[in-house]
C-alpha cells in the first residue's frame, strides 16, 4: 500500500513541481530507509505540456483527499505541506539546482494508520521527449496494470469463495452422512475452543470467511443433537470420536436411548447397543442362528448385530471355563509333545 502510494508520487511530483517546458525526460531514483538498494530501479519520466494530462491533474486535485495547507517557495526550493482526510500529514521539500537539470526531494509522511515514512527522490534531466505520446503510453501501461490487478483481486476473491463454499459443503455433507471426520477443525475444536491450536486455526479460517465458522459450527451442533438420537447414533455407528466431539459418551447415549428403544422395539438399535433390553427378543428369535446360515425376515439384522455383540460379552462361568480349559488342554498337549 505504502509502495503504491509513493509510486504515484514518484510520477506526479516532478510534474507538479516542474510543470513547465515541454518534453523534458527525467530520470528519477527513489530510496527509503531500510529498503535494499536496487529494489526500486530508476524510472524515466517525461514531463511537459500535455493539455489532457493537465485537465486530469486538475480533476484529480478537485477529488483528492489531501489538501495543500502551506506552500513556501524560495528560489529553487519549494516546501509543500499537505493534510489528508485520514489524518495523515505530508511535507514535501524539493530543491532544484540552478540550471533546473537536477533536483532532490524529501517527502515525510506522518500517518496514524501507516506510521511515519520518509522517502528521498533524486532526479536529473537527461533529454527531450514527447509528453503526449509518453503520457498515452504510460496511461495504457497503467490501465493494463490496473486491469491485471483487478483481475488478480477478483481471482483471489473467487478462490477464497470457492474454498469457503467447499468447506461449508464438507460440513453439510458430514452432518448429512453423520461422518464426524468431515468437520475437520470445527469438529476437533467444537468442545475445545480454548485450546491454543484450535484458536489459531479457527481465527485464520474466520479471517478468510466468517461464513465457514458460522455454517460449520451450526452443522456440528446439528450433528451432535442427532448423534444423541437412535437414528443418528446408528448412522454414526456409535463412533467414540463423535461422542468426544459432542462432549458426551456412547454409554450415556445408550443409557438414554435403550429404554426408549425397548419400548418401541427399535430392533436395529436394540440389537447393536442394548444387549440387556434385547436379550428377551433374541432368545425368542435368534437361537440357533449361524453366521453363515441363510437368514431373512424382520429379525435378520437384529440377530446378526445382537449375536456379534453378545459374542464378546463375558459368558456364564461354566462356558468361559470350557473355552479356557480347551485352550489349556491344547497347550498342555503341545507342551507334552515338546517334552516341556
Amino acid at each position: 500500500m505504502r509502495m503504491r502510494f509513493f509510486a504515484t508520487l514518484l510520477v506526479a511530483l516532478p510534474f507538479a513541481a516542474v510543470a513547465q517546458g515541454s518534453g523534458e525526460l527525467w530520470e528519477i531514483t527513489m530510496s527509503m530507509p531500510g529498503m535494499p538498494a536496487g529494489m526500486m530501479p530508476a524510472q524515466r519520466v517525461c514531463q511537459g505540456d500535455d493539455p489532457e494530462r493537465a485537465a486530469q491533474a486538475q480533476k484529480g486535485k478537485d477529488k483528492k483527499d489531501c489538501k495543500v495547507t502551506d506552500r513556501k517557495q524560495s528560489g529553487n526550493r519549494t516546501i509543500i505541506s499537505m493534510s489528508c482526510s485520514d489524518g495523515s500529514t505530508m511535507v514535501i521539500d524539493q530543491q532544484f539546482n540552478a540550471a533546473r537539470t537536477e533536483f532532490k526531494s524529501t517527502m515525510s509522511l506522518k500517518s496514524k494508520k501507516d506510521g511515519d515514512m520518509t522517502m528521498t527522490q533524486t532526479g536529473r534531466k537527461i533529454g527531450a521527449c514527447d509528453a503526449v505520446a509518453t503520457r498515452k503510453e504510460r496511461d495504457a501501461h497503467m490501465d493494463k496494470i490496473n486491469k491485471d490487478m483487478a483481475a488478480m483481486q477478483a481471482a483471489g476473491a473467487a478462490e477464497q469463495k470457492k474454498f469457503a463454499d467447499r468447506q461449508i459443503k464438507e460440513c453439510a455433507d458430514a452432518a448429512a452422512k453423520m461422518d464426524w471426520r468431515g468437520f475437520g477443525t470445527y469438529g476437533q475444536c467444537y468442545n475445545n475452543k480454548a485450546d491454543a491450536n484450535c484458536k489459531t486455526q479457527i481465527d485464520s479460517l474466520n479471517k478468510m470467511s466468517p461464513e465457514i465458522g458460522k455454517s460449520c459450527n451450526a452443522r456440528v451442533a446439528e450433528y451432535c443433537k442427532r448423534y444423541q438420537t437412535q437414528e443418528g447414533f446408528l448412522k454414526a455407528k456409535a463412533d467414540e470420536n463423535a461422542a468426544q466431539m459432542c462432549g458426551v459418551t456412547t454409554a450415556s447415549v445408550k443409557a438414554a436411548q435403550c429404554p426408549k428403544a425397548a419400548q418401541t422395539e427399535s430392533l436395529a438399535f436394540l440389537g447393536r447397543y442394548c444387549l440387556a433390553e434385547a436379550k428377551p427378543i433374541a432368545q425368542q428369535n435368534c437361537v440357533g442362528r449361524d453366521y453363515t446360515s441363510k437368514m431373512g425376515g424382520k429379525y435378520n439384522d437384529f440377530c446378526t448385530a445382537y449375536l456379534a455383540q453378545a459374542s464378546l460379552e463375558k459368558p456364564p462361568a461354566s462356558a468361559a471355563d470350557q473355552v479356557k480349559q480347551g485352550v489349556s488342554k491344547g497347550m498342555d498337549k503341545l507342551k507334552g509333545l515338546f517334552g516341556r
Partner: protein, 263 residues
C-alpha cells in the same frame, strides 16, 4: 535415591507404553486387533497355538515372493494324501502355479496347497524349511511350521502376534489381496478338461461391510481360527483369532468396535 526413582519411573513409563487392553479374554485362545497399524486389544498374543490353515498364508507368501505364477505344475501323487478341504485334484493333472495359489488362498484347498508346496519345495520337507526360514526372517519368534497347509502337527505352532506380522507381510502383495477378497472364482486345468468353481471360505466376504479377507483356518487341534481384515473409509482393521469357537460373531463384534473406538 533420585536415580532409583528415575529408573523406576522410566520402567513404569515403558510398561505403560506397551500395555495393551485385553477386554475379551474369554473369546479365544489368543487374539489381537489392530487398527491402522496400532494394536487396540490383545489376549495372549504370544501364546503358542496351532495355526490350522492360517499356515497357508506363509505358503502363499513364499509362492508370491518367488513369482513365476504362470509356471505349469504337474501334480504328483501327494495330492491324493491331502485331507480335509479339497477341490478334488488328481495326480497328473496340470494347473498353473497361480491357480494352485488361488485355490489355496480362496478355498483353503489342501490338495492345491500340497501340490503348490511340492512344486516350490521341491519336496514337502524342503518347503517346510523355507517356511521356517521366512518366518525367522519376519521375526516370528513364536512360530514353527511342520506342514505347508496347517494340518495339526506336534511341533507346529504360531502366535497371534506372529500371525499379525505374517498378515501384514502378505498384505503388501496385491496378488494376495486380490485373491483374499474373491468371493467366488473358477479355475481350469491347463488342458481345459476340468473346471473348479470355488467359493471363499471367509464368511465375512459379502456379509460384512468392508471385509477384504484374509484367511480362515480350522482343525481339531487348532479350533476355529481367522485372520480378518476390513476397511471402511480408509481405516483398516486387522483381527487375528486363534481357537475362537464363535470366530465369525467375534470377528464382526471386534471389527465393529474397532472401527468405532476412539482414536
Amino acid at each position: 535415591m533420585v536415580r532409583l526413582a528415575l529408573v523406576l519411573a522410566a520402567w513404569l513409563a515403558g510398561g505403560a507404553a506397551h500395555a495393551v487392553d485385553d477386554p475379551y479374554p474369554w473369546i479365544a485362545g489368543a487374539y489381537l486387533v489392530k487398527r491402522d497399524g496400532v494394536v487396540l486389544w490383545a489376549g495372549q498374543p504370544d501364546a503358542r497355538l496351532a495355526p490350522a490353515s492360517l499356515a497357508k498364508m506363509m505358503t502363499a507368501l513364499i509362492a508370491i515372493e518367488r513369482g513365476k505364477l504362470d509356471e505349469p505344475v504337474t501334480l504328483g501323487r501327494g495330492v491324493l494324501q491331502a485331507t480335509g478341504t479339497r477341490i478334488g485334484l488328481k495326480p497328473g493333472e496340470r494347473l498353473s502355479a497361480g491357480d494352485l495359489l488361488t485355490a489355496t488362498v480362496v478355498r483353503s484347498a489342501n490338495d492345491a496347497c500340497r501340490g503348490l508346496a511340492e512344486h516350490l519345495g521341491p519336496s514337502r520337507n524342503a518347503f517346510i524349511v523355507k517356511m521356517n526360514e521366512r518366518a525367522a526372517a519376519l521375526g516370528m519368534a513364536n512360530s514353527h511350521f511342520a506342514d505347508p497347509c496347517g494340518h495339526d502337527r506336534p511341533d507346529q505352532y504360531t502366535s497371534a502376534a506372529d500371525l499379525v506380522r505374517l498378515a501384514e507381510e502378505v498384505m503388501k502383495h496385491r496378488e494376495y489381496m486380490r485373491l483374499a477378497r474373491l468371493e467366488r472364482v473358477s479355475l481350469k486345468t491347463l488342458d481345459g478338461g476340468r473346471t473348479f468353481a470355488l467359493r471363499n471360505t471367509n464368511a465375512l466376504l459379502g456379509r460384512y461391510d468392508g471385509a477384504i479377507g484374509l484367511k480362515t483356518g480350522h482343525t481339531e487341534g487348532a479350533g476355529n481360527c481367522l485372520v480378518a481384515l476390513a476397511e471402511r473409509d480408509g481405516v483398516r482393521v486387522l483381527a487375528v483369532l486363534l481357537n475362537a469357537p464363535n470366530r465369525w460373531w467375534n470377528a464382526v463384534g471386534l471389527l465393529d468396535r474397532a472401527f468405532a473406538a476412539a482414536r
